[in-house]
């Protein structure tokens, strides 16, 4: 079954450092998302991406965050200068344009970010 792949599974970084989280969405999906889950809290929407541009973003997604689809397969989330409060599990998700996957988010296993 097709799956969304995320790397790294866990990253530890120092406050102020840049972090790039990588995602490989399902190959025929066209909508891509990043969500965040702080330990013990709800899953929060960060950003959605379609047709090589951001389609929606939340208040969390400030100037410290950026997303990119550098090639035909990867979808990255960059945090320019990490803060302690960025420590969370970051989930990538994708969905298709039509068919059974059109309105269903398929999630990756997540990347746990720990900022020290």
């Amino acid at each position: 079954e097709p799956e969304v792949t995320q790397t790294p599974s866990h990253q530890v970084t120092q406050m102020g450092q840049e972090v790039i989280l990588r995602c490989v969405p399902i190959s025929n999906h066209l909508y891509f998302y990043w969500y965040r889950q702080i330990l013990g809290q709800k899953v929060e929407f960060l950003v959605s991406f379609y047709n090589n541009e951001i389609s929606e973003k939340s208040e969390i997604f400030d100037d410290q965050f950026s997303v990119e689809r550098p090639d035909g397969s990867n979808f990255t989330l960059k945090i320019r200068s990490t803060k302690l409060e960025d420590s969370a599990m970051y989930f990538c998700a994708s969905r298709g344009l039509q068919g059974s996957g059109a309105n269903v988010l398929t999630f990756g296993a997540g990347s746990r970010l720990t900022v020290l």
Partner: protein, 111 residues
């Protein structure tokens, strides 16, 4: 704006007992509705979804959910819980490009 409410933060049930996890959504129209499960250290796995049609939907692992428009609810049920069902359960709603998650219900299963 859409929102999803899961009123139960934590539920404990005995193995073999029935289970119902509550979910209420807030939206003018009928959104797409989902239940996801998250096992410790894992990602979010889709249990089931409702788009339209039959209001009782069957999912994986023996779960089902019933959409009740009059109550704006989409409660998740299982007739007999197994120890492996212990996990965090998230209800979500979506319309178009946006998907909203509830705060989750943590399920503990005792022998």
């Amino acid at each position: 704006a859409q929102s999803v409410t899961q009123p139960d933060i934590h539920i404990t049930v005995s193995e073999g007992a029935s289970l119902e996890l509550r979910c209420n959504y807030s939206y003018g129209a009928t959104p797409y509705l989902f239940w996801y499960v998250q096992s410790p250290g894992q990602g979010l796995q889709l249990l089931l979804k409702y788009f339209s049609g039959d209001t009782l939907v069957q999912g994986i692992k023996g779960f089902e959910a019933e959409f009740k428009r009059s109550q704006s609810s989409f409660n998740l049920r299982k007739p007999s819980v197994h120890w492996s069902d212990a996990a965090e359960y998230f209800c979500a709603s979506g319309t178009g490009n946006q998907f909203y998650f509830g705060t989750g219900t943590s399920l503990t299963v005792i022998p």
